[in-house]
Amino acid sequence: MPIQRAADAAPSSARASDTRDASVSGHLNASMAAYQAGNIDAFEVVYHHLRPKLRRYLGSLTLNATLADDLLQETFLQMHRSRHTYLPGRPVEPWAFGIARHVFLMDRRSGIRRKRDQHDAIPDEMPLPEPFSDSTDRTHLQRAVATLPEASREPLLLHHVWGFSFQEVGDLLGLRAGTAKVRAHRAMQQLRSLIRGKE
């Protein structure tokens, strides 16, 4: 029962943001400042740090590998066009995730790619919340995460996978911090019941 134990052991207050490496964050901030000053090469540090995270985030939003790749490239282009909106000294990740979410929503609202790509689900790349990340039955868990409603899946992943505080999650999604917390908690409960149902 490894999955069950992981689900039961999931600490409700698990916050990856506590462990976020301050030196990496400082390096990212410095690279962003250099990039704003016209040094394109400084963006390479930001790119290589953010690329895997944004790719998985977009994958979790779109449930579509091809679309996630397209939107990832568009996100970095949008970051370049809007690089002046990054406020020096502030964390880079909430800003970058905010842009990725904006790109995703604009694409979804435009409705152009919806029909073309709707059946290309990517549970293989679906990130898993922290308590489940070492589980042996990843595929089963990834499918379970993919079946969660989008409104609760997003706060769950932003908090438990990428380590954003609930205040940051709320700011990103346009929700109150309390609402984001409730949704993440409900998603975790749903995930546990989905796992229990399968076993």
Binding site: I40, R51, L87, S110, G174
Partner: protein, 234 residues
Amino acid sequence: MSPEQSWKSLRDDLAADPAPVKPLRPLRALAPWGLLIVLGLLTVLIATVGLREDAASLGPIWLWLPSLIELAMAVWLLAAGLEETTPGRGLNKRMVAVGVGTGILTHCAVTVLTQQKGSGLSTGSMAAGKLFSCFGAELLLAIPILVVAALILRRGLTTRPARAGIAVGIGAGVCADALWRLICPYGDFRHVLSAHLTSIICVLFLGWLVGYGWDRWRLRNWRRKAAPPSSPSS
């Protein structure tokens, strides 16, 4: 495509526009400019129209305090709306609802207080004329504030323009009311509700309309860019 290949391809695109950029100014850096705009509008108003007729009977505290309370509320609302310029930060629906409610309540509370302390002048037979002059004047005062806020929002990457529009709309409306309160001496509720409150609500609606319109325009541009090129007809 591997991360290295993607980076190379992206780098070529970025190299087309390598110019250094000036980061957006933090809101506290914009505050002196906002104060300057308000002081400018106030000076023009007092110089052209003069202070309200019952300024002497109100005394300096009851003349300036209600306007300062409203101005503080307007600054909070405008700042909340302008937070939307930075992705990853911004307004939630509840904040917008609380902002609109508090803005309107502040206006009503300040009106009741001023009416109790003031000369109790009523528009009476001039109700219709005063309605249009006060409504128009507040609208005229609010529009420059709204335009400046919209330009700041336009410069950023506003992810929820309609929400930001509502916040800066009510902020601009309350700010204009705070200024016009120093001019209009009429405190009867019929006048205040029909002329002053209506103008605040109109500016709120205008802010929402600007935000919504801009969002639709941006979406249309996005569609145009993202749409696959149409194949030539044979």
